[in-house]
Symmetry: C2
Amino acid sequence: MNDLAKRTISGALFVAIMAFCITFDRITYFCLFWCIMLYGMREFFNISIGESMKLQRAMAILCGLCGFLAVYFLECYAKASVTLVSVLVSCCFLLLLAIPISCIFRQNHEDHGNLSYIYAALLYIALPIALSPKLVMDCEVFDGWMLLSLFIIIWMSDVGAYAIGTALGQKPDSRKLAPSISPKKSWWGFWGAVVIGTATAVGLHYLTWLPFSLAHCIAVGVIISVGAVCGDLVESMWKRYFHVKDSGNAIPGHGGVLDRFDSSLIAIPLSCIYLSIFGLI
Amino acid sequence: MNDLAKRTISGALFVAIMAFCITFDRITYFCLFWCIMLYGMREFFNISIGESMKLQRAMAILCGLCGFLAVYFLECYAKASVTLVSVLVSCCFLLLLAIPISCIFRQNHEDHGNLSYIYAALLYIALPIALSPKLVMDCEVFDGWMLLSLFIIIWMSDVGAYAIGTALGQKPDSRKLAPSISPKKSWWGFWGAVVIGTATAVGLHYLTWLPFSLAHCIAVGVIISVGAVCGDLVESMWKRYFHVKDSGNAIPGHGGVLDRFDSSLIAIPLSCIYLSIFGLI
């Protein structure tokens, strides 16, 4: 099987699984996002600290899970289960304190600076994913269509960046976006992402998948496309720093989980902030 | 002036300023803790990433301030100013996303791994300090005596560790606490910290500065003393990793701000978690 066929099949399967899990039920949504957090953090640890600090890695992943569940139950049952939320938040903070304390008992202190990558994974990967329940829960009702719409905007803006960037941005005189990080990305690609992303948001508005006014949909489209491009560059920057090409090999032909979700790690929390400010979620 | 006199005078001044600022008013408390956060983070950045990433350092410090203010207003006015809190939380998240994005535009990507120390400072220094308003606000009423009591327990447990450790723990056969990090600290010192810290908590219970039952005061005393020893060792570990003796020279004879507050960075959030679980704050 050639590479393009492998990429197409695994890409289609990926979209189908994402769409099913996000919209079907809160359990499928939870399993999917928990896997993304788990594998995303594992990949980040593998490329940054390798095999060391296994205990601290596990505690960080558990801390992310506790935070994720805390936001979920806060959105899910509001005041009814305030005890559960405060227990989860306490666990989250306890783990956060236990991570440096547990390092005291390690024999090797030469690689203690690796602890900072554990903190980075928590803020760069776990926190954005832990915020996602805000986008799927409306009081006690689970509704994943809005979150799926945001992912569709991200995917379409990726397609737009690739299509316009390939068609117009590869001439020798076309201005590059960030040549020191990603030599191929051009400003044409950036504008392609913004235009296609925003057009997709407008389309989703008329499909009523995005339940906001047209103006808000346009704003969300712009924010998500810009966020997606930034997210992509930030992950490229990490990979360049660690001298790796892909974050992993979880998805055949597409690299690792982190490579697939790099855009969302910036785009989804950005849209979350926008929608919160305007009281739309 | 010899070293001991300098240490004594600046130590006494330090305790007097702390006690005044924590108990006088919410403004003095805020100024003090904001300075601790600002200088603590600056010192951590100075020893970890030096002069690089000035913009990202500034954004991290601002992010810490927003989080601190958000917790303060959440504790202070409860539901009345929910808009203010959500604006501050949004600023906090926006800055958190802006930190990696701003790195894209840097010319030098060789030191991109330093970004992880920015994240570390946020979770290791800013977060514990940002939680402290939970300990001084009781609905709309400011009351700093409980927080001061917790600091007194920390200081007394430090004195206990030093006194008992010097008296009993310096024999050749006395077991060391963590010889690879801090060769002088002995288990005798640890037990000294726990005993004196707990005794201080009991004393503060009878002074009614700590408004909890005797059992809770004993528990808080044990938690704070153990947390203080751990916090001390965690900071020693960072300093050993960065090959520095002191984190700075802000307090004459006592090193930097971080050297003075290392114990509190673990002890205060630990006690915060304990008191939250039992509904005492």
